[in-house]
Structures are given as structure tokens and as C-alpha cells.
């Protein structure tokens, strides 16, 4: 009986372990700050072709991010023909919906988008913990009950992956690919708790 209790306890403890930190080696924190460079240049128009898969429904659009002030970003999605789908403004932790298509005007959609965009454009992060796992150095930050893990390639110094979790579960994974200086030419945002995948490809003829 006691063995069974211990087994159950062990089992429940293991299942509580966050997948992100599995096999990671903790390391002392030296730099207490990390800056995400990808949407930090106010002179740059960040224009991407977006492909969005949500619960088996697919749609595309043009995804636009512009830094319009300190810790202040404008994020817009339009159809290829130019009609606006949504228009968000993020400043610090607050947000404003300038426009959203009536059909998408639902709290759950707005909150999911807001969380994703805050994750994507958040520039300055306070590092609480540091891990190592070749080829990455991983910085962990905490915001309320959410944890963010920044995977930086040791050899290139570039941010390649960003994982947002609750204390127990991975929620959102962002992969940054084809990185050219401070610009990620391809970005993939995947959700673990909902069937939503966003793929962004940089449009560089503008």
C-alpha cells in the first residue's frame, strides 16, 4: 500500500515537471537582462506574409509590426487585397484594439492574440534563471504566473526559440529562423493548448 502511495506521488511529481526545462543544466545568472532584437528597430517596417491555421481553418494575410515609440508597437493583419482584419496597439502591458473584424471580435481570440504579440515584441526581459543545453544558453524570465524561456544559440548569439509556459505546461512556442542580423525572416508560432499555428515570412521588397 505504501509502495503504491509513493508510486502515485512520484508519478504525479514527474508529470508536473515542465517539459521545457527537462534535461537542462542550471547555471548561475550573470547578465540579469536580455533584449529581444527582432521588433526593436523603430526605423524598420516589419512586413510579413502570414499563414494562419486555426482549428483546421486556413487563412492568409499580411502581418505588419511597427515600433511606434518606446515599448510601444502597432500590429496589423490585412488580407492580401488590403482589407484590415485587426489592428492592435501594445504599450508596456496594456493594449488597445483599434479595429477587429466583427466576426473575430471575441474575448478569447483577442486575449490569445494579445498574449502572442506581447511575447513576440517584448523587448526587455529580466533574467531570473539561466540554463545550459548545447547549443543553447537559456534565459528564464517570469511575468505574473507565466514563464518565458529564451533559447539563444551559443555560437551565433542569436535568439532562436522562445517558449511561454505556465508553471506546469508549455503554452506557446515561437521559432525564429533565417536570421539576418536583427531580423528573423521566418517566424513560426505554435500553441500547445489550442489548435492555432501562425507562420510568418518576411517580405523584403518593401
Amino acid at each position: 500500500m505504501k509502495f503504491l502511495q509513493i508510486s502515485i506521488l512520484l508519478l504525479s511529481l514527474t508529470s508536473c515537471t515542465l517539459a521545457t526545462t527537462k534535461n537542462l543544466v542550471s547555471s548561475p545568472v550573470v547578465n540579469t537582462h536580455f533584449d529581444n532584437p527582432y521588433f526593436s528597430d523603430s526605423n524598420q517596417d516589419y512586413v510579413y506574409k502570414g499563414k494562419i491555421d486555426v482549428y483546421g481553418n486556413y487563412f492568409g494575410g499580411i502581418f505588419i509590426v511597427k515600433k511606434i515609440g518606446r515599448l510601444h508597437h502597432r500590429i496589423v493583419l490585412t488580407t492580401e487585397l488590403g482589407n484590415k482584419i485587426f489592428d492592435f496597439e501594445l504599450q508596456n502591458d496594456s493594449y488597445k484594439v483599434n479595429y477587429i473584424l466583427e466576426e473575430l471580435d471575441r474575448k478569447i481570440i483577442i486575449n490569445t492574440l494579445k498574449r502572442d504579440f506581447q511575447l513576440l515584441v517584448k523587448e526587455h526581459t529580466i533574467v531570473k534563471k539561466k540554463y545550459k543545453n548545447d547549443p543553447y544558453i537559456i534565459y528564464q524570465s517570469q511575468h505574473k504566473k507565466q514563464l518565458n524561456f529564451y533559447f539563444i544559440n551559443k555560437d551565433t548569439g542569436k535568439l532562436e526559440k522562445l517558449v511561454n509556459t505556465s508553471k506546469r505546461k508549455e503554452k506557446t512556442i515561437v521559432n525564429f529562423e533565417s536570421i539576418n542580423k536583427k531580423l528573423a525572416q521566418r517566424i513560426v508560432i505554435e500553441h500547445k493548448n489550442i489548435k492555432l499555428k501562425i507562420e510568418l515570412k518576411y517580405l523584403d521588397n518593401n
Binding site: N43, D45, V47, K49, K51, Y58, F59, G60, I62, I64, K66, I68, R74, V76, T78, E80, L81, G82, N83, K84, D87, N98, Y99, E102, E103, K201, L203, D204, N205, N206
Partner: protein, 209 residues
């Protein structure tokens, strides 16, 4: 050219354009509408290159995309973007047939009245056949090079999406050379047509994805 000169040049140029734009008289309007209607009736197909500029006030540059547009009377339209990405959309009755770089999807637009209306307006604007529409206040201007017609939304629901359609018609052929859709925020989409060919044979296969 230094900056000051450039500003002066721009100001004069803008003033010049405005000065050249004059309101059309009622007789001119009636004449113009009659001619446009005749052109639209005789246009069975259109194939044209286009360049699209998406203007958002907070961006440093407009977003430029380009491709080909095909129209077949009465209501088949295909927009095919080739640069900087491959994407095509066919307006077919109650459906949008989309091919996004190989990924195909059909969107039924019957459910969304507003979307349907917007699409209908886009289809109509290609041929210039928008004058019998009660949802707009229409005003007519002429310049040295083209006619400029402003369609301002009267309908409360429509004006949430589109404030104004602005169509430019060539003076010679009376065909649409530019479409501009202005949103309530004054952001806009501008489409400029070039190399327009009319009444060439366009098989139905052109309008499949």
C-alpha cells in the same frame, strides 16, 4: 535638389493637381455615365497587370505587391499576386477560391453579408460599373489626364469598413486605370492597372485554382 526645394516643388505640384481638378457638369456626368455603361457592356473580358500599394499611416513605406487581374463578364474575377509572393483569389458566385502558394482553400462568403458586399464592389469597380448603387454619394471630377469619380459610403454598416472608393477612368478609353479604397481611418489600398487587354479569349480554366 535640396529639401526645401523639394517641399516647394511638392506643394506646387499638389496645388497644380488640385487646381486642374474640376467638378463635372450635369450634362458631362450624364454623358460620361452613358459612355461608361456602353464600354462596360462591350467588355467581355479584361486581362491586366496591376500594382497594389497598401498605405498605413504609421509605416515608413507603402506595402507594394503586384500581379495580374483577369475579369470575365458578368462576374468572374481573379486576382493573381506574383510578387513578392504567389497568391491568387477567384471571386466565383458565393465563394472565394484561394490558392496561397500551393495551399488551396474555398471560403463561403454567403454568411458574411458585408464581406459579400465588399467583394461585389471590388468586382464592379474593375469594370467601372458602380453608378446604379444607392449606397454611395457619387461626385464626378475631371482632370487633364483622367476622370475621377468619388463614391462615398452612405450606408452605416458599409462605412464602418470603407469610407470611399475612388476610381480613375482614362479619358481616351474610359476604362478604369486606378482603384483606391479608403478606410474610415484614412488608410487605403491603391491599385494601379497597366497593360490592360480587353475582349481577348479567357477560358473558364483561368478561373480555377
Amino acid at each position: 535638389m535640396n529639401k526645401l526645394m523639394l517641399y516647394i516643388y511638392i506643394i506646387f505640384f499638389t496645388l497644380g493637381v488640385n487646381a486642374q481638378q474640376a467638378q463635372m457638369s450635369q450634362t458631362e456626368i450624364n454623358n460620361f455615365k452613358k459612355k461608361i455603361k456602353a464600354v462596360a457592356e462591350n467588355t467581355k473580358t479584361i486581362l491586366s497587370d496591376f500594382t497594389q500599394y497598401k498605405h498605413l499611416e504609421f509605416l515608413s513605406n507603402d506595402i507594394k505587391t503586384s500581379g495580374k487581374m483577369a475579369f470575365k463578364a458578368p462576374n468572374l474575377v481573379k486576382w493573381e499576386y506574383t510578387n513578392p509572393y504567389k497568391y491568387s483569389v477567384i471571386f466565383k458566385e458565393d465563394q472565394l477560391l484561394i490558392n496561397d502558394d500551393g495551399k488551396k482553400s474555398d471560403v463561403k462568403i454567403g454568411g458574411s453579408k458585408m464581406f459579400k458586399k465588399l467583394n461585389q464592389l471590388i468586382v464592379n469597380s474593375v469594370s467601372g460599373n458602380m453608378f446604379d448603387n444607392n449606397e454611395f454619394d457619387i461626385s464626378y471630377y475631371k482632370t487633364a489626364g483622367f476622370y475621377r469619380v468619388l463614391f462615398t459610403s452612405k450606408d452605416k454598416n458599409l462605412s464602418k469598413y470603407i469610407k470611399q472608393f475612388i476610381l480613375h477612368f482614362s479619358k481616351k478609353e474610359l476604362t478604369v486605370i486606378e482603384v483606391k479604397m479608403v478606410e474610415p481611418s484614412n488608410d487605403y489600398t491603391q491599385i494601379i492597372f497597366k497593360n490592360r487587354k480587353e475582349n481577348i479569349v479567357l477560358k473558364d480554366e483561368v478561373f480555377t485554382n
